[in-house]
Symmetry: C2
Subunit: 210 residues, 2 copies
């Protein structure tokens, strides 16, 4: 099975299952049924079994899934065993909050392989200063920083007008995944993924249903 | 057509169309074709026509859509003409950044009807202080603040362990939509919507495909 064929909704649920399983490990639970796992993840038990069956056979009839082993398997499937260096582009208010949050999480969360390795900003007053131990670099140093730190994911927290330019440059230097917080629709070549997370757009979607 | 029947993906695209149209208004454009609109929104022209047809007839054969009128219509459909008071729960690093961002946006973006009307935190050192002109209140004052400000949407930026409790309380006092930034799966009664936006979970989804 190629990764591209797995629907994003399945991966999104696998991430939730992993979180539930880690909580269960902490609580000292050894086995969990698909019904329990589903209940805590907000889906039904058939969906849990179907999702997990896409990746292998993990449970035992009548016993359930072994909590710790399944957590490790899902972490491996999701690629948590490989390092995922991140660059944050734009260290304004939102970029700073996101960076601090991610830096603190990567230090405290076991099995969390995302590490903020680079911060970029265009403000000369910020360049050279540190945030959580990471130095803020100018965007012109992107080629050398990306090569040195092997950046895999870019978080876009620059103003909308600058977002496409930053992404174009980052794509040239090998970044294949973006989490976009700028209120702009980004264009990327095939094989590059963008997940957008503009708060105001999500609010507008939510408001429609209220 | 009841609002509940409209798929969230359609609404999500309508929000993007609106943004493209507002840019086109600013650029002085009078008419736009479904192909142009689609190109800027990242979808094909057939999808644009199908989405818009769910809500009415807006274009003229051979001329395209009138930019300004269509923008107004979509804003009305999305409910931007009604006020949407927001409360932010948890004024930590992320909550502060989100609040500042939303407060600044609501002042500058024309037609943006989301207003941060209340901020809640449990830290006695923060209660009574102001952020962007909004006073931080203790969660115990939620009933009176929700009633006074007619809060419609809650943004959850509290730690994971506190999130469900805060949401349960907010639901009791009439909040029907939540944007959740806490790394927790929230349970809500029917008729209440939660959109989750936990950065680490989105990163985990993204990483799978890299």
């Amino acid at each position: 099975m190629t990764r591209d064929r797995v629907p994003v909704v399945v991966i999104s649920r696998m991430v939730v299952y992993l979180r539930v399983l880690r909580d269960a490990v902490t609580a000292g639970k050894e086995y969990i049924s698909s019904a329990e796992l589903g209940d805590m993840a907000g889906v039904n038990s058939a969906q849990v079994r179907k999702d997990l069956a896409m990746f292998g056979e993990f449970g035992k009839q009548g016993v359930g899934y072994p909590v710790e082993t399944l957590a490790e398997e899902i972490a491996r499937i999701l690629g948590h065993d490989t390092d995922m260096p991140i660059a944050v582009f734009g260290v304004g208010e939102l970029g700073t909050a996101l960076s601090r949050y991610l830096i603190s999480r990567s230090k405290t969360l076991e099995g969390f392989s995302f590490t903020v390795k680079a911060l970029f900003d265009s403000d000369p007053a910020k360049i050279g200063t540190e945030l959580g131990g990471v130095v803020i670099s100018p965007v012109c140093s992107l080629p050398e920083v990306c090569a040195r730190e092997n950046i895999r994911i870019g978080i876009i927290a620059v103003p909308a007008a600058a977002a496409q330019e930053v992404v174009d440059l980052a794509v040239v230097y090998g970044i294949k995944g973006f989490l976009n917080f700028a209120p702009a629709k980004l264009k990327v070549p095939p094989g590059v993924r963008v997940v957008s997370s503009d708060v105001t757009m999500v609010l507008q979607e939510l408001a429609f249903y209220l």
